[in-house]
C-alpha cells in the first residue's frame, strides 16, 4: 500500500508541471468587518455568485475559494496572504478593498509568482514605475473616477472646489486625479485620518471656506458618516457635493437614504447598463442576495469572470504562469461594463460615465447613467511602466 502511494505521489509530482491541474484555488482576502465591511462583502458576494453561476467552476476547473477577513488592518491582511500563498498554495489571490492593505500584502504573492487580480484597489505606483507582471486590474485605475469627476466639475463651471480625502495612497491619488482634470481653483486640500468617523472639525473649516463645490473621496463607513454629518450641519443646502462612484453606491445609499437624491457621481458601471452580461448579473444578484448590487459587487463578478477567462485561455494549465498571464492579458470575457480591454500595464482602458442618484421604476434609490465623461480612458502613469 505504501509503495502504491509513493508511486502515485511521485507520478503526480512529475506530472504536475506538464498537465492541467484538477482544481483552481483562489485566496480571497477583503475587509469583511468594521464600518467599511459592506464593500468587502459586496465584492465577495459578486465573486462567489459568478463562480456559482459557472457551476462552481472557473475556466472549466472546480474552484475552491478561501475567504479571509483583513479586519481593515494591513498586518492582518498580509498574514492571511502569507498563509494562503505559502501554506494553502493558492493559484490566485484577490479581494482587497483598500490600497494600503493590498500594498502590504501583494508583495507576498508577487514573490511567489502568484497572480493577484484586483477587484478594487489599483494604486498609481503599480500603474507606472512599479508595474508588475503578476498584477491584473479588473476594476479601474485608482485615479480614474476622480479624473472623471474633475472633468465634470470643469464642465459645470465651478470656480472653486474644496477637496477632502483620507491620508493614504488612494486618497492622495484621488485628489491628484481630480486636480488633473479640474481647471478651476482648489480652495483647500484636506486629508483626514483613515477610518476617521467624526468630521465636525473639517465641516467647520468647510463652512468657513464657502467653496462653489465640494469633492470628497471617503469610501465605506467614512463616507456614510461624513455625508450624514454634512447634512446635519446644514451644509448640503449650500454646497453641491460631487463624489466618485464608489462614494455614493448602494452601500452608502442604504444607510444614508433620501439625503442622497440628486447627488452626482462618476463611475465605469451603473446598474442600468443595458448589455446581456449586466442584465444577467443584476438579476442573479438580486435573486440570490435580496438586495441591489453596488459597483463593488459588479467588480467582484468581473474579477471572477476574468480569472475564468484566464484559466480557460491557458487550457487549465495553471501551473504555467506565463500561459495564464497571456490568457488574462487578452481580457476576453463578458464584462458587465460592456467591452473590456487592458492597457500594457495591465490596467483597463474604458469609458467613464456621469451618474446621478435617483429612483428606479420601483421607487428604489439607484444611480442612473446620464452621460459619458471619458471614452477609452487609460491612466496617467502607463508611460512610466516598462512592461510591454
Amino acid at each position: 500500500m505504501r509503495r502504491r502511494i509513493c508511486a502515485l505521489t511521485l507520478s503526480l509530482a512529475l506530472a504536475s508541471g506538464a498537465q492541467a491541474a484538477d482544481k483552481v484555488k483562489v485566496g480571497f482576502i477583503s475587509t469583511l468587518s468594521g464600518p467599511s465591511a459592506a464593500l468587502g462583502v459586496d465584492i465577495r458576494d459578486g465573486f462567489q455568485l459568478a463562480v456559482k453561476m459557472n457551476g462552481g467552476k472557473l475556466g472549466g476547473l472546480p474552484a475552491e475559494v478561501l475567504v479571509g477577513d483583513d479586519q481593515f488592518k494591513p498586518d492582518v491582511g498580509r498574514q492571511i496572504a502569507e498563509k494562503y500563498v505559502r501554506l494553502d498554495k493558492v493559484d490566485f489571490l484577490t479581494g482587497f478593498v483598500f490600497s494600503n492593505i493590498m500594498l502590504a500584502a501583494v508583495p507576498v504573492a508577487f514573490e511567489a509568482r502568484i497572480i493577484y487580480v484586483s477587484p478594487n484597489a489599483a494604486p498609481s505606483p503599480l500603474a507606472g514605475k512599479q508595474c508588475n507582471p503578476y498584477f491584473f486590474v479588473a476594476s479601474w485605475p485608482n485615479d480614474a473616477y476622480h479624473e472623471a469627476a474633475g472633468q465634470h466639475a470643469t464642465n459645470k463651471g465651478y470656480k472653486s472646489a474644496y477637496l477632502i480625502a483620507p491620508n493614504y495612497q488612494a486618497g492622495k491619488d484621488s485628489l491628484a486625479g481630480f486636480k488633473r482634470y479640474y481647471k478651476g481653483n482648489v480652495a483647500a486640500e484636506v486629508y483626514t485620518q483613515l477610518g476617521q468617523l467624526d468630521y465636525s472639525a473639517e465641516l467647520a473649516q468647510l463652512r468657513a471656506a464657502r467653496p462653489d463645490a465640494l469633492y470628497i473621496f471617503l469610501p465605506g463607513g467614512m463616507g456614510i458618516n461624513f455625508i450624514k454629518q454634512f447634512v446635519a450641519a446644514g451644509l448640503s443646502a449650500d454646497i453641491p457635493l460631487i463624489v466618485p462612484g464608489f462614494g455614493s453606491d448602494q452601500d452608502i445609499i442604504r444607510p444614508v437614504g433620501e439625503a442622497m437624491l440628486g447627488l452626482f457621481d462618476t463611475a465605469h458601471w451603473a446598474i442600468d447598463f443595458d448589455n446581456a452580461a449586466n442584465r444577467r448579473f443584476v438579476a442573479a444578484f438580486e435573486k440570490e442576495y435580496k438586495r441591489l448590487p453596488s459597483v463593488f459587487a459588479a467588480q467582484g463578478w468581473d474579477a471572477a469572470m476574468l480569472i475564468d477567462s484566464g484559466v480557460r485561455g491557458a487550457k487549465g494549465r495553471i501551473a504555467d504562469v506565463e500561459a495564464l498571464r497571456k490568457a488574462l492579458k487578452a481580457g476576453k470575457f463578458e464584462s458587465v461594463r460592456g467591452s473590456f480591454k487592458f492597457n500594457r500595464n495591465q490596467f483597463p482602458i474604458q469609458n467613464y460615465y456621469l451618474r446621478v442618484v435617483g429612483k428606479d421604476s420601483q421607487g428604489r434609490l439607484v444611480n442612473k447613467t446620464i452621460g459619458t465623461v471619458f471614452k477609452d480612458h487609460g491612466d496617467a502613469y502607463v508611460q512610466d511602466c516598462p512592461m510591454k
Partner: protein, 319 residues
C-alpha cells in the same frame, strides 16, 4: 540547565524536519514565534525580575523595527549596521523614557509608560515618508554575509534561534550576578533597598535600558522576517500581548517569555487553522473567536496560576 539544552537540541532539529516534508511555512512561523520569545524575554527582565510594570514595551520593539526598516529602505542593507542601529535606537528610547518614568511609582508608572508608548505610536503614524499607517514594505531582508542568505527561511530560523539562546543565556547570567540580585532585592522591597544605600533608580534604569535594547533587536528581526513594519507594532495592545506572554509563561522564570510566546502564538494558530469538528458543531465559526479562548485562559492564569506555565512546571519538579 540540562532541560534548556535538551529544548535547544529539539529546536535545532526542527527546521530540518520541516524542510524534509517541504513545509517551509512552519519554519517561517517558528521564526516568528522565536522573535516574539526574544521580545517577551526582554519584557520578563523588566517585569518579572525587575517588578516594573511597563505598559510601553512595544515602543522599544517598534523603535528597533523602524530603525532597522528605515536602514534597509534607504539602501543600508547590511545587518551589521542595521541591527546595531536598531539596538541603539531602542536603548536610547528606553533610556529617555525610563529616566522620566522611573521618577513615578505604582499606577502612575504604568500610565506614564503607556503615554510614552502612545506618543511613539502617533509620531510613527504621522511619518508619511516611511509609510505612515500603511506601513513600510521592505524589498529584502537584512544581509548578514558570512555565507548566510537570510532570505532562506532555514538560515533565518537559525539566526533568530541563536539570538534567543544568547538572550536566555544572558538573562541567566545577569540574574545570577550581583546586578541581578540587586534588581530582585529592589523588586522585593524597594524601601529597604534604598535604606541600605543602593542606588535604586540607577539599577532600575539600567535594567530598563538593557531590556529595551533586547526588545529593539527583536524588533529588527521582526521587520526583516515579515519584510514589513507598521505602526501597530507600537500600539499599547501589543504591549498588553507581550505582557500576556510573560504572565502565561511565568514571570520571573527564565523560560517564561519564551514559553508564553510559544503557547500564545501556537494556540492562536491551532485554533484558527485546525477546526475541531465537535466544537464547530456546537459553536459554528468558533475559529473566528479565538480571542475568547485566549482571554479566558489569561484570566484563569491571573486568578489561579499567577506563576504561569513555567511556575507550574517548576513546582511539579519540586523545585
Amino acid at each position: 540547565m540540562k532541560r534548556s539544552i535538551a529544548v535547544f537540541i529539539v529546536l535545532l532539529g526542527f527546521p530540518l524536519v520541516m524542510s524534509a516534508i517541504d513545509n517551509l511555512f512552519y519554519v517561517s512561523f517558528a521564526s516568528r514565534v522565536i522573535i516574539y520569545a526574544i521580545a517577551a524575554t526582554s519584557l520578563n527582565l523588566v517585569l518579572g525580575y525587575g517588578g516594573m510594570i511597563s505598559f510601553g514595551h512595544a515602543a522599544f520593539v517598534g523603535a528597533g523595527a523602524y530603525a532597522a526598516s528605515i536602514c534597509i529602505a534607504e539602501g543600508v542593507t547590511s545587518a551589521w549596521l542595521g541591527w546595531p542601529a536598531a539596538i541603539g535606537a531602542s536603548a536610547l528610547a528606553a533610556w529617555l523614557i525610563g529616566a522620566v518614568s522611573l521618577r513615578t511609582r505604582g499606577v502612575y508608572f504604568i500610565m506614564i509608560t503607556l503615554a510614552f508608548a502612545q506618543m511613539a505610536f502617533y509620531l510613527v503614524n504621522s511619518m508619511k515618508a516611511y509609510g505612515g499607517d500603511e506601513g513600510l514594505s521592505l524589498p529584502q531582508r537584512a544581509e548578514l554575509g558570512l555565507g548566510l542568505d537570510l532570505g532562506n527561511e532555514v538560515a533565518f530560523y537559525y539566526v533568530v534561534l541563536f539570538f534567543l539562546a544568547l538572550s536566555l543565556y544572558g538573562l541567566h547570567r545577569v540574574m545570577r550576578s550581583r546586578f541581578g540580585r540587586v534588581v530582585i532585592a529592589i523588586r522585593e522591597n524597594e524601601a529597604r533597598a534604598e535604606a541600605i544605600g543602593l542606588p535604586v533608580r540607577r539599577y532600575q534604569l539600567a535594567c530598563f535600558v538593557v531590556a529595551g535594547a533586547v526588545a529593539g533587536l527583536a524588533g529588527a528581526l521582526l521587520a526583516s522576517h515579515g519584510k514589513y513594519v507598521n505602526p501597530n507594532v507600537l500600539h499599547w495592545v501589543q504591549s498588553g500581548t507581550l505582557m500576556i506572554m510573560v504572565i502565561l509563561g511565568g514571570v520571573g522564570q527564565l523560560w517564561g517569555g519564551a514559553i508564553g510566546a510559544f503557547v500564545l502564538l501556537g494556540l492562536e494558530h491551532v485554533i484558527s487553522d485546525y477546526p475541531l469538528p465537535w466544537l464547530a458543531a456546537v459553536a459554528p465559526n468558533y475559529q473566528q473567536h479565538a480571542n475568547l479562548g485566549v482571554g479566558l485562559v489569561m484570566l484563569a492564569v491571573v486568578l489561579f496560576a499567577p506563576h504561569g506555565v513555567a511556575g507550574l512546571l517548576s513546582r511539579r519538579r519540586g523545585a
